[in-house]
């Protein structure tokens, strides 16, 4: 079972943070392990849209597919992983804090594929990857 969460206060307005994280072209700039992301359904910013990542995890490259299952501009987005080495959901929550933003990410689910065989490592690695992503986000947005 993978159940990890992290949050950061980012010194940028919530609209700017949400827009940056929703931009699939910018995903590789902050999401650890993501090499490329695109949507066959336009910009991927609505419930039902599919988002595809080309990801790298501990030397393994793979394609992972996600469906958008919740979307509320500047507040919340939830993605369900439907293929790749993880099955479950990834939630992103946004809260304005004055002129800054509190970003929270939660990842909940089960390892699959090659990760299933080494499931004992999955939680630790998922937390490390989440922390790295949030650190990247803060660094890129705050400059």
């Amino acid at each position: 079972m993978i159940d990890v969460r992290g949050e950061r206060r980012i010194d940028r307005p919530v609209e700017e943070v949400f827009e940056f994280m929703a931009d699939l072209d910018k995903l590789p700039l902050w999401l650890a392990g993501c090499r490329k992301a695109w949507s066959p359904d336009g910009n991927g910013r609505s419930v039902g849209a599919r988002i595809i990542h080309e990801d790298e995890f501990m030397g393994r490259t793979f394609e992972a597919k996600f469906d958008v299952i919740e979307w509320e501009d500047d507040k919340r987005a939830v993605f369900e992983a439907v293929s790749g080495p993880f099955r479950g959901t990834s939630e992103e929550n946004f809260e304005a804090d004055g002129d800054a933003t509190i970003v929270e990410i939660r990842v909940h689910g089960e390892p699959a594929g090659f990760l299933k065989a080494v499931g004992f490592m999955a939680k630790r690695q998922a937390q490390a990857q989440l922390d790295r992503s949030l650190d990247n986000l803060k660094l890129v947005l705050e400059g």
Binding site: M58, G59, A117, V118, F120
Partner: protein, 153 residues
């Protein structure tokens, strides 16, 4: 006639001390039940106190095995291609007693505890080799701790 197995990971395992005693089919089973993953230089494979869950075979790169005694690091060993580590906690069924960190980008074959135990049960030669390696490493670690203690006194 049996065709030789040319899988690159089988060939790599064949070069590992102890595993060279297994036949190609056994090695292929191990490869099928294990996962090869990469650790960047500086990252930890596991830390002291974490559960012993797997045996790690170094396919490329290098790791260092170290402990912390009175806030000082004691390096026990460096392990490179053709060697394995992680067997101590599996044999004694304990948590890890050392830290292991990649000193360069390293690719490791991760054999889970359950798979490792099955392999040992069906391969007495390998079980003997692993036990001997375990005893030698424990003696070596004791020697390093004594040297460290002597240098502090």
């Amino acid at each position: 006639m049996t065709r030789p197995i040319t899988h690159s990971l089988v060939k790599a395992l064949k070069r590992v001390h102890g595993f060279d005693r297994l036949d190609g089919q056994d090695l292929l089973c191990i490869v099928g039940a294990s996962v090869n993953l990469k650790w960047p230089a500086g990252s930890h494979v596991f830390t002291k106190g974490s559960p012993g869950e797997a045996l790690y075979v170094v396919l490329s790169g290098e790791v260092r095995i170290y402990d912390e005694v009175d806030d000082r690091e004691v390096e026990i060993a460096r392990t490179g291609p053709g060697e394995y580590f992680g067997e101590m906690s599996l044999i004694e069924d304990t948590t890890h007693t050392k830290n292991v960190q990649a000193t360069e980008d390293s690719e490791l074959l991760v054999i889970t505890k359950e798979e490792f135990r099955e392999i040992l049960e069906s391969n007495s030669d390998l079980a003997k080799h692993v036990r001997e390696t375990f005893d030698a490493r424990r003696a070596d670690a004791e020697s390093k701790y004594q040297t460290e203690a002597a240098s502090q006194s």
